[in-house]
Amino acid sequence: MTDYNFAYLDEQTKRMIRRAILKGLAIPGYQVPFASREMPMPYGWGTGGVQVSAAVLTPEDTFKVIDQGADDTTNAVSIRSFFERTAQVATTTATAEATVIQTRHRIPEAALTEGQILVYQVPIPEPLRFLEPRESETRKMHELEEYGLMHVKLYEDIARHGHIATSYAYPVKVEARYVMDPSPIPKFDNPKLGHMAAIQLFGAGREQRIYALPPYTQVVSLDFEDHPFEASKADHPCGMCGANDSYLDEVIIDDAGGRMFVCSDTDHCEARQAQGHRGKDAA
């Protein structure tokens, strides 16, 4: 299939997106507006992430897509085959072999290295959106660093639930300047955002925003002094590979209350099983 330009988008569009990416990298956490294109998929399925991936892919890249940590879900499979067709890049499911990883809602368990790029799909880039509906006002708040309102949300959590109940899309402060929505990753992944060796790019297609974290950026999760941030996960080992330190999905296995916990990162789980690790539910 050679009817498409490399990686679907035309060169001028990719240039425009790369400019936005560079600006985002220069101002970590700042939301750069860009002229998002109509993509051959519905909004909410990763149009922002796909455009960012298309702009950074080169023919030599190895591409990996994960959706909630899994390589084999609909979203991941279709985006992977999209770039197989339009860019003829090599694809992989192994985190360590990939040079560009597009992700929805997770950061891979394996530590990423310099030279890798992690592209996030972002539904709502504005962390203050549900507290202050006026975009003109939230921009002003970012401009003037008025972030008291973000703590009002955390205050409400504690007042209602006794602890900070926000468990995903947990707001972070980047380099002591911009408050950023890390996309809906579980807060378990928040500590990995900071001081990461890989480049992290965030694309929101419908909202037309790109933001970025260059390697080794300081990222702090917001909290109260007497209610500090805690990265949480289900308190179980993985049923398939026995891992104690990975983020788990709860899977209902029958209609009698039976359930199992299994790594959400399928590549991590399979690699561990290949090394001979076994959990209690492994066949």
Binding site: G148, L149, V152, E156, A159, E225, H227
Partner: protein, 256 residues
Amino acid sequence: MTPLLSVQGVTKRYGAHIGCADVSFDLYPGEVMGIVGESGSGKSTLLNCLAGHQPPDGGQVVFDTRADGPRDTVRMSEPERRMLGRTDWAFVHQHARDGLRMGVSAGGNVGERLMAVGARYYGDIRHKATDWLARVEIDESRIDDRPTTFSGGMQQRLQIARNLVTGPRLVFMDEPTGGLDVSVQARLLDLLRGLVRDMGLSAIIVTHDLAVVRLLADRLMVMKSGHVVESGLTDQVLDDPQHAYSQLLVSSVLQV
């Protein structure tokens, strides 16, 4: 003594139409100034210009800041002005809905200004919020309820608590009792009078209700068509009005 707020020649035009013209006065610490006039006389325009919500077309609004002494807030940078807006200044809106976050609990509403100036200790914020709810006579058990479940008078009292929690020195009030029934108005006025006296607040109150200024204000300005037509001590202006419009205003009050 330096005035807390010194206003000189503040003018605001809406195209050819005059919002308010050439208003000047000094407000000293602990003083309460009333601004009365009919609808469309430029009271709210003036208040918005003073509080930095609207840029005036001309004139100076010099505020005696804690750190740097008297500064012209019109020419101040926006971050500084907004900082004043959540520390030394407070603004009580006529409609509590404009001044409250309706989707956030009462405690969160009171705590917002504290968190905006850097409070990061949940226990302290909670404690201060509880304390302030008690001071405006809202039951402590309502702290986690949203303002949507409050009555109009309670919402107005919550708005006042939310504004006064950071210990401002100057409060702007735009018709604080508008839209409330008379018995609730009386309670609110009582509360306001107590708070203003206890905290030594200075205040500028815009209203068309002469009873409000009689109770709260030390001095009074009467506005008509954007101009100040008469000013002086409250009792003096109300008991012995000189300008024809002030006379009309005073005589228009219904006697029960």
